[in-house]
Every structure is written in C-alpha cells, then in structure tokens.
Point group: C2
Chain length 152, copies 2
C-alpha cells in the first residue's frame, strides 16, 4: 500500500508510539491527552472534536468540554499524531506518527469509513504543480470522496 515500508502501529502499541513521538517533540504526555488519543483511536472512522469530547466524557463520567479537546487535537496535529480530514471536519489517529507524509484520504460518502493511503509520487507531483505557478506549498490536502468497496 505505501510506497515505502514503515511500521503500522495499533492498539496499545499505537498509543505508546504516539506518546514517544509527542514527548520527542518536547511536549508532555498527560492523562487527558492519552484519553483523547485513545478515544480518537477507538473510532473506526473520522471523529469530530465533539464526538471525542462525548466519548471521553462518557468514559470519564464527567463533562469534558469540546474546547479542551480542540486544544489537544491541535497539538496532536502539529506533532503528526493525528490528521485532520478537511472535507469531513473530522480527525483520525495517524497509524505511523513516526514518519511524515502528505497523505491521501479516501472517504466513503455512505458509511463514512475513511482509508488512508500514502503515495509520495502523487503528493510530490501535486507539490511541484503548485510550485510551478509560483506558489509555495506547505500542506497538500488530497481527499477523495466516493464509495468504499463495502458500500459500492
């Protein structure tokens, strides 16, 4: 699937990888951050900040404000632990926070399932097409809306 090899983390392994990556970037891995990360990783499709706030609230037995979740998500996105799916206003945990990619999301319009592919050839082409028009690309957003194999 990916052009190069890298390790895909899952479950506790993923959480540990996230923790390591975050700490390497000089940030703390707090229990609140862990809960947010695990809540997000527990969804099988992109989750909104409010979805996460609700999940954490439930798990926690107390009210957690969306606000706090946003703060943490922003931090996570900056540290590559989490990606934002722009066309869905939602977030997904990054299965390999330890390597940096422009990534491509395939978002099913029926069921919301979102799969993630890395294709550096495509993203490089997009970046250079942008550069050719005098634009300095920072972050390509490449998402494909359509139907997943199950819904098709």
């Amino acid at each position: 699937m990916a052009i190069h090899d890298h390790h895909e983390h899952a479950g506790n392994d993923l959480t540990r990888a996230a923790q390591t990556t975050l700490e390497k970037s000089g940030e703390q891995w707090t229990s609140m951050r862990e809960r947010v990360f695990e809540a997000l990783a527990g969804f099988d499709k992109p989750a909104s900040a409010y979805d996460i706030a609700e999940a954490v609230s439930k798990a926690e037995g107390r009210r957690v404000a969306a606000n706090s979740v946003y703060r943490i998500l922003d931090l996570f996105v900056g540290a590559n632990l989490v990606r934002r799916v722009e066309s869905a206003n939602a977030y997904v945990a990054n299965a390999h926070p330890d390597c940096l990619h422009d990534c491509i999301f395939l978002v099913c319009d029926s069921c919301g399932q979102t799969t993630h592919i890395d294709d550096d050839a495509i993203t490089k082409t997009v970046r250079s097409a942008a550069k050719n028009t005098g634009f300095s690309p920072v972050r390509p957003v490449i998402e494909v809306r359509g139907k997943c194999a199950d819904c098709d």
Copy 2:
C-alpha cells in the same frame, strides 16, 4: 495553465455563461440566483455563504438569509457553476462552467487568495490510485495550502 484549451469567462460574459449552463441543466435563472452568482463572482477570494448573504443584502437593501444563499449555492455546485473549497468552508465561481474538471485549488494561508489549476494528469492519477484500493472515486478534493507568490 490548463492542460487543454477552453474559454475563461469574466464579468458579464461569465454571468451569461453561468446562466446558459444552468438553464441547459433544466433549472431557472432567477434574479435572486443572478444576484448570488454576481456577488460571489465579485469577490476576489473564496467567499462563505454568509459573506455572500451579506453582500447581497447590502446590494439589495434588504435582509437576505444565509439559508437562501446555501440553497442556491448547492444548486450552483451541482450544476458546476460554483466550486466549494473544502479546506476553507467557502465557495468560488467557476470561470468555465461549460467544461467539467476535477480541479485543484492553491489556497494562500496569509491572504486567502485562491488560484485554480486544472491538471487532468494529476486528477486522473489520484482517481486511479483510489480505484486501486477498491474505492469508487466520485469527487477528488485536491487543495494545496501554502503561500502565494505575493505573500511569499
């Protein structure tokens, strides 16, 4: 800029082209629709539905609800008169409603200026990468965030 040649409309010409395209798709070109289209075309960067509602309200001297604007924008997007910039929650008039493209937006994070390129080679590659994973692509969303030549 574009891979193939097509006519870029502007000003009144663009409005007429939009009208023609919309009518060809079996919809009416009402005065309200014209006002919304012209308001959008009058912005030099992507405009939100609320921006447009405000512009039309001002031009009209009466309050126009965002709601009505959304309805018309949805119609326009469906008829290819207008494109939605997902990563900006905003809309732009399509300079050539008469031909259908997956299109690529370059969005400046500083000034909001958004330029539009058509590169069918890229979009075809993206579509086929999606197909290769069993996904049926319907609408690629390809946007590049970065800095425009002026802001760089």
